[in-house]
Symmetry: C2
Subunit: 113 residues, 2 copies
């Protein structure tokens, strides 16, 4: 089967999660499901990638966690964006855009040396 986003999440996951949280608090599981749904599975978030990412971003003060309830009444750890997180999101978005456009320019089918 066609391998999807193998290793490409590297260096991008943080921005994706921060952006997801910029629309309001969510628990981890919901973040993953939402990203997958939103991108038609072009982005697949393993739980073993997501939770460690959430921890380190919490440690860095970009997000905050509190135990609460999921939409269907289950115990869940709800994350929300902090001010620092919002700033970080802007930074990483800018970096991504800059980087991605450079890559696209190089990879463009008819680009000439």
């Amino acid at each position: 089967m066609p391998t999807l986003s193998k290793d490409r999440l590297h260096g991008t996951l943080d921005a994706l999660v921060l952006k997801t949280l910029s629309w309001g608090p969510r628990h981890g599981y919901a973040i993953a499901r939402w990203l997958e749904e939103k991108t038609g599975d072009a982005i697949q978030v393993e739980e073993g990638s997501l939770y460690p990412a959430l921890y380190r971003m919490e440690k860095r003060g970009w997000i905050e966690a509190a135990w609460g309830m999921s939409e269907i009444g289950r115990k869940a750890k709800i994350y929300r964006l902090t001010g620092a997180g919002r700033k970080q999101l802007r930074l990483e978005t800018a970096e991504w855009t800059h980087f991605a456009s450079a890559v696209s320019r190089v990879l463009k089918p008819d680009a000439s040396p």
Copy 2:
């Protein structure tokens, strides 16, 4: 301008190198310099990343190496793309495009949930 792209090359370097070689054989040092120049330093290729990447791609049969001369008459290892490399380049380009458009869609400033 956005600073150093930390780990974003992850999963992208191979495609960039393959694409560079698709315009003709080059030695490693030239590949790095060319990518940097072409992208206005948006993509910076450390030699510690590049040479291992060249080895593994050679081992996988995507590129071939031969000792030769650089343009200015210095000993240099010249790499060139193989058929398998060309195929791999197409594959990775398609994957990158797919992935990058998904990320951009999520990160887009006014995207709504």
